[in-house]
C-alpha cells in the first residue's frame, strides 16, 4: 500500500525533533456482514476502512496520531502530530533501513470471502433459520449473523522492521428465543476461524442452528441456579474464558509493570494445580486469535505461560519488553490503526490431561456442570473474576440432571487455579471471542479439556 521509500521518509520525519522509536502501522480492512432476523434477511452491510497510525516513543512517553490519508503528505502530518505529542527536545537526522520480517501464515486461506457471491452468504442464513425453526414449535425467534473480515496490515519501524500480514476471518452465529410457561429463554451457537468461506466445509450451519435451538428449548425447563459455593465441572471447549479471566489478563506484562496483577513477581513459583499447563499461541491456525505477525510486526509465538502449575513467563509487547531488555512475545495487538498497541492474548488454552471426561462426571457427587460459558471480566489487581454460564446443569450423584437458568460465577484467579483437581483428555477449542481491554476489542481464541474446580461461587437465586 505504501512505498518503502515513503515509509523511510515518514519515519525519519517522525524522529526529526527527537524520540527513540517511530512506527507506522497501516491497515486496510474490508468486511461484510449479513443478518437474518424474524425470518427476513434484514441487513446486508459492507464496509471499508483504511488508514495509518503513527507512534513516536521518547523516553517513557508515547505520542500517537492517526490518519485516513495514506499519501505521503497525510502520513507526514500524522508523523509530526505524533512527534509533537512525544516531544522531548534533541533531534537530528535518522536514517531508517528496512528489513522484511519473514513469518509464516498460521494457515492457508483457500476461499477468500470477497470471491464468494453475496447470495451464497445469504443462503447460509436461510438454511440456519429453517433448521432452528424446525427444532420445535416453542422456538419463537431466530437471529443469524454471517460476518467476514479481510484485514491487511503493514508495520514498519525505526528499528528497521518491515512486516506485513493478510488476515482473513469468517464467523457465523445463531441465537434462538424459545417461549414457555416460565417466560422466554435463549440459546446461542457460534463458530469462527481465521479462514475464508471454507469455514463452511467443516461447519454445518444446520447443526449449529439445532444446537442453539435445543439449548433454548432445554432451558425452558431450567430452574434457578444455586446460590453459594460448590464444585463446578466445565465441559471441554466451553470454558477457556475461565483461564482468559482467571489468569490470562493477569499475565499481561503491562499489568505486571504497574504492579496491578496478583501474578506480579511470581515467575518460577507454583501458581496453579500441577495439572494446569497454560499456553498462549498466536501461530495456532486456523483458530480465531491466529496471526502471522502481531500489530507491531513481531512474529506470533507459542508461549508457555504456566508449565505444570509453575509460572514460566508473562506475555509481552514491544514497549514492555524493551523496558525489561528482552524480546516481545508477539502479543502486541490493537483493534485498528486508530489505536495504540498493548499486550493482548491470542489463542489461550489449557493443554490435555489424562482423565476420561465421562469418568470425571461419574466421580462428582454434587456440582454444577457448565456446558457453555459466555463472557467474563476480571480485576487483575485483586484477582477476582466473573464469567457467565449460558448452558448449565446440576450434577447429582455423578449424573447430569436439571438444566439451570443463566448466572454469573465468581472466583479469585490464584485460588481457582489451585482448586483444579482433575483434567480430562478431551481438549477442544471454544467459540471465537472478542476480548475487550481499555476500550479496544481484538479477536481471541480459547480452549480447555473437561476439568473440575473444587469450589466456585455460583451466582444464582436458589437457596
Amino acid at each position: 500500500v505504501i512505498e518503502e521509500s515513503v515509509i523511510s521518509r515518514v519515519l525519519g520525519a517522525a524522529l526529526r525533533t527527537g524520540g527513540d522509536f517511530a512506527e507506522i502501522f497501516a491497515e486496510d480492512r474490508r468486511g461484510t456482514m449479513a443478518r437474518l432476523d424474524d425470518g427476513k434477511v434484514e441487513d446486508m452491510a459492507s464496509g471499508r476502512e483504511r488508514g495509518a497510525g503513527i507512534r513516536v516513543v521518547a523516553g517513557d512517553t508515547t505520542g500517537f496520531a492517526h490518519t485516513s490519508d495514506l499519501s505521503e503528505t497525510g502520513l507526514r502530518a500524522a508523523a509530526e502530530a505524533a512527534s509533537a505529542a512525544a516531544r522531548r527536545g534533541g533531534g537530528g537526522i535518522r536514517q531508517v533501513e528496512l528489513n522484511r520480517v519473514g513469518a509464516p501464515a498460521p494457515n492457508e486461506v483457500t476461499v477468500p470471502p470477497e470471491s464468494v457471491a453475496k447470495d451464497a452468504k445469504v443462503e447460509l442464513l436461510r438454511r440456519a433459520d429453517d433448521a432452528a425453526r424446525q427444532s420445535g414449535s416453542a422456538i419463537r425467534q431466530v437471529s443469524v449473523v454471517y460476518g467476514d473480515n479481510h484485514r491487511r496490515i503493514l508495520v514498519a519501524n525505526s528499528d528497521g522492521t518491515l512486516a506485513q500480514d493478510d488476515q482473513v476471518k469468517t464467523r457465523f452465529a445463531v441465537t434462538c428465543v424459545a417461549s414457555g410457561d416460565a417466560g422466554l429463554q435463549t440459546g446461542r451457537e457460534s463458530a469462527g476461524a481465521t479462514v475464508g468461506f471454507e469455514l463452511f466445509d467443516t461447519t454445518r450451519v444446520e447443526e449449529m442452528a439445532r444446537r442453539a435451538a435445543t439449548q433454548a428449548l432445554t432451558k425452558l425447563a431450567a430452574r434457578p441456579a444455586p446460590s453459594g459455593t460448590m464444585p463446578v465441572v466445565i465441559k471441554a471447549g466451553s470454558g477457556g474464558v475461565l483461564f482468559h479471566e482467571a489468569c490470562g489478563h493477569g499475565l499481561e506484562a503491562d499489568h505486571i509493570a504497574k504492579d496491578v496483577s496478583v501474578f506480579a513477581g511470581r515467575v518460577g513459583q507454583r501458581v496453579a494445580s500441577p495439572l494446569v499447563t497454560l499456553v498462549d499461541d498466536g501461530t495456532m491456525g486456523p483458530e480465531w486469535g491466529a496471526i502471522a505477525v502481531d500489530d507491531e510486526g513481531h512474529p506470533a509465538g507459542r508461549n508457555v505461560l504456566i508449565d505444570q502449575g509453575v509460572l514460566t513467563d508473562y506475555m509481552w509487547d514491544w514497549l514492555r519488553a524493551r523496558k525489561e531488555g528482552r524480546a516481545s512475545s508477539g502479543n502486541g495487538r490493537r483493534e485498528s490503526y486508530r489505536h495504540l498497541p498493548m499486550v493482548r492474548m491470542t489463542n489461550t488454552f489449557v493443554t490435555n490431561g489424562t482423565e476420561d471426561p465421562e469418568e470425571i462426571i461419574r466421580q462428582t457427587p454434587q456440582a454444577v456442570y457448565v456446558a457453555q460459558l459466555g463472557g467474563g471480566q476480571v480485576n487483575t489487581a485483586t484477582g477476582d473474576f466473573v464469567f457467565g454460564m449460558i448452558e448449565a446443569y446440576l450434577i447429582e450423584d455423578g449424573r447430569i440432571t436439571a438444566p439451570l437458568r443463566d448466572a454469573n460465577l465468581i472466583g479469585n484467579g490464584p485460588e481457582v487455579l489451585k482448586a483444579i483437581d482433575v483434567v480430562g483428555n478431551d481438549f477442544a477449542m471454544g467459540w471465537p471471542g472478542t476480548c475487550g481491554k481499555q476500550g479496544q476489542g481484538v479477536p481471541v481464541g480459547d480452549g480447555q479439556p473437561t476439568l473440575r474446580v473444587t469450589a466456585l461461587t455460583i451466582g444464582g437465586t436458589a437457596a
Binding site: E42, M44, T61, I458, G459
Partner: protein
C-alpha cells in the same frame, strides 16, 4: 435550560459543511430509491499519565460515512472511514448492491419529517478547542498526585487520564430529512490501588463535562480514594437474601439494561420480557422512568436521533405502570405507531437500531444516608462486574459480581468482595423500596441515583 423552537437545526452555526455533504449524497437517489447519508467527524485527544510522567498522548481526527439505500422494501447498508468523494461514491454503490440481497419488508423505509420541533440546546463549547494540550497533561498529572496524596494506603495509581472529544454528525435523506448535531465532551478518570502488599483493593473515580471548567478534579480523586480504601479488609460474605442499596453509578447501569428491554423492535419480535404488558404495573408506584434526550444536562442529550428526527421526552414507566416502548422508524411503522425518535447508531459503521439516551428516574425524598437508615440491614453495592455475561435481557435473569459494604443498624459496616448479587429484572422492579434524591448525570444513557431494592440473593461463602 431547555426550550423548544420551530427550528430545523439545533444550532444554526453548526456543521453546515457536514450537512451539505449528507444532502449531496442523499440527492444522488435514483428513481424508486430512498437514500440516507450519515456523516460524522470527531476530534479526540487522550492523555495518560503514570507515575508523574506522561505515558501516552493520542490525538487525531476521524471521519466516516454510513449510507442506507432502500429499494422496493429492501435495505442495504455500507460504510467507510473516509469522506473522500471517490470513497463516498463506492460506498453508495455498495449499499445499493447490498439492498438486492435483503428480503422485501413492507415496513422498511427511511424517516420522514414529522413536524416535531427540535429542542434548542447548546452542547458545544468552544472553550474545549481553545484548551491547551499542556493543560490537559497538567490536569492528568495533578489528578494522579491528588489520589496518591489522598490517603497513605494508596500504593499505586494504575492510570490517570484526560480525554476529550468534539463530535459532529449530520443525517440527510432523499425523503426530506436534514439534521445535524454537535457536542463536546471531556473527562478526567483515575484508577486507584489501595493496600499494603498483603491485600489489594481498587476503585476508580471520574468527572465528566462539556468543557474543562465543568470538571471536578477533587470529586474524581476523592471518589477513587474513598472507594478503594473503604474496601480494605474486605472478606467474602455468607450467602443471604437481603436488601441492596445501589450507588448512583450502579443504578445507571441497571437503568441502561432496563432501557434495552423496552426496545419496540424486540417487543415486536418476541424477545422482550415486557411484551404484552403495556398498562400493567411492572414496578412500584414511586417508580417513574423517563427517557429525555432534550434535557441538556444529560450526558446523552442530543437534538436529533440517528435518523434525523427531533428527539423528544418519552415517559416509559409512569407510577410503576408500563406506558410505552421505544421506536425507530422501522419498528414504529411495523407497530402502527409514530417513531419516538429513539434511533441510535454505534458510530457510522452500523445502520440505526433502537436505544434510550437519557433515562431518568423521578427522584424520591431521601438522600443516600437516609436510605441506608431506612434499609437498616443490607448491602451497599459500589461496583459490579460481568454485566454483559450475567444479565439476560430476554429472560430477565440478573446475576453480577459485586463489591461493597454491609449495612448494619442503618450505617455502613464491614467491606465485602468476591460475591454475586442475583434476581430477575422483573422482580427487582417490583422490589424497589426507595429512590434517592441525589441525581447526577453520568457518562452513558442513564442518570445516576441511589436506589434500594429488597430481596436480592447474595451468593458468597456457604
Amino acid at each position: 435550560v431547555s426550550d423548544s423552537a420551530p427550528a430545523t437545526t439545533a444550532d444554526p452555526a453548526e456543521s453546515t459543511e457536514l450537512s451539505q455533504l449528507a444532502e449531496r449524497i442523499a440527492g444522488r437517489a435514483a428513481a424508486g430509491e430512498e437514500v440516507e447519508a450519515y456523516v460524522t467527524r470527531s476530534r479526540e485527544t487522550e492523555v495518560r499519565v503514570y507515575d508523574g510522567d506522561v505515558e501516552s498522548v493520542s490525538s487525531a481526527e476521524s471521519t466516516g460515512v454510513g449510507i442506507r439505500v432502500v429499494i422496493g422494501g429492501r435495505q442495504g447498508f455500507a460504510y467507510a472511514g473516509s469522506l473522500d468523494d471517490d470513497v463516498v461514491g463506492e460506498t453508495l454503490a455498495e449499499a445499493r448492491d447490498n439492498a438486492g440481497f435483503a428480503t422485501p419488508d413492507e415496513w422498511v423505509g427511511l424517516a420522514r419529517p414529522d413536524g416535531v420541533p427540535a429542542a434548542h440546546m447548546d452542547l458545544w463549547r468552544d472553550e474545549l478547542a481553545a484548551f491547551p494540550a499542556g493543560d490537559k497533561v497538567s490536569m492528568a498529572v495533578e489528578l494522579e498526585k491528588a489520589v496518591r496524596a489522598g490517603d497513605r494506603r494508596i500504593r499505586q495509581v494504575e492510570s490517570s487520564e484526560w480525554g476529550d472529544a468534539a463530535i459532529e454528525s449530520a443525517v440527510a435523506t432523499s425523503t426530506g430529512i436534514s439534521s445535524s448535531n454537535r457536542r463536546t465532551v471531556c473527562y478526567l478518570s483515575v484508577s486507584a490501588v489501595a493496600g499494603d502488599g498483603s491485600e489489594t483493593q481498587t476503585a476508580y473515580g471520574f468527572s465528566v463535562g462539556r468543557a474543562p471548567s465543568e470538571l471536578d478534579m477533587d470529586k474524581a480523586a476523592g471518589d477513587a480514594v474513598e472507594r478503594a480504601t473503604r474496601l480494605l479488609g474486605a472478606s467474602k460474605p455468607h450467602s443471604a437474601r437481603l436488601a441492596v442499596v445501589l450507588e448512583p453509578r450502579i443504578t445507571a447501569t441497571l437503568l441502561a439494561l432496563l432501557g434495552g428491554t423496552l426496545d419496540g423492535e424486540s417487543v415486536l419480535k418476541g424477545r422482550s420480557l415486557f411484551a404484552d404488558r403495556l398498562g400493567e404495573a411492572v414496578s412500584v408506584p414511586s417508580f417513574t422512568l423517563v427517557d429525555d434526550p432534550t434535557d441538556p444536562a444529560a450526558y446523552g442529550a442530543t437534538a436529533y436521533d440517528a435518523e434525523g428526527l427531533a428527539c423528544r421526552q418519552n415517559v416509559l414507566i409512569d407510577g410503576g405502570h408500563l406506558q410505552m416502548y421505544l421506536y425507530n422508524t422501522y419498528a414504529a411503522r411495523r407497530a402502527g405507531r409514530a417513531s419516538t425518535a429513539s434511533a441510535v447508531r454505534a458510530g457510522y459503521k452500523s445502520a440505526p437500531g433502537i436505544g434510550a439516551r437519557a433515562l431518568t428516574l423521578s427522584p424520591g425524598d431521601s438522600g443516600p444516608e437516609q436510605i441506608l437508615g431506612q434499609v437498616g440491614t443490607g448491602l451497599l453495592v459500589q461496583s459490579v462486574s460481568g454485566v454483559h455475561s450475567g444479565v439476560n435481557p430476554v429472560s430477565g435473569d440478573f446475576s453480577v459480581g459485586a463489591e461493597g459494604v454491609m449495612i448494619r443498624d442503618g450505617g455502613l459496616a464491614e467491606p465485602v468482595r468476591e460475591f454475586t448479587i442475583a434476581s430477575t429484572i422483573q422482580r427487582m422492579l417490583q422490589n424497589v423500596v426507595a429512590v434517592g434524591n441525589d441525581q447526577e448525570w453520568l457518562p452513558g444513557s442513564a442518570v445516576g441515583v441511589t436506589l434500594a431494592i429488597d430481596d436480592v440473593s447474595l451468593s458468597g461463602a456457604s
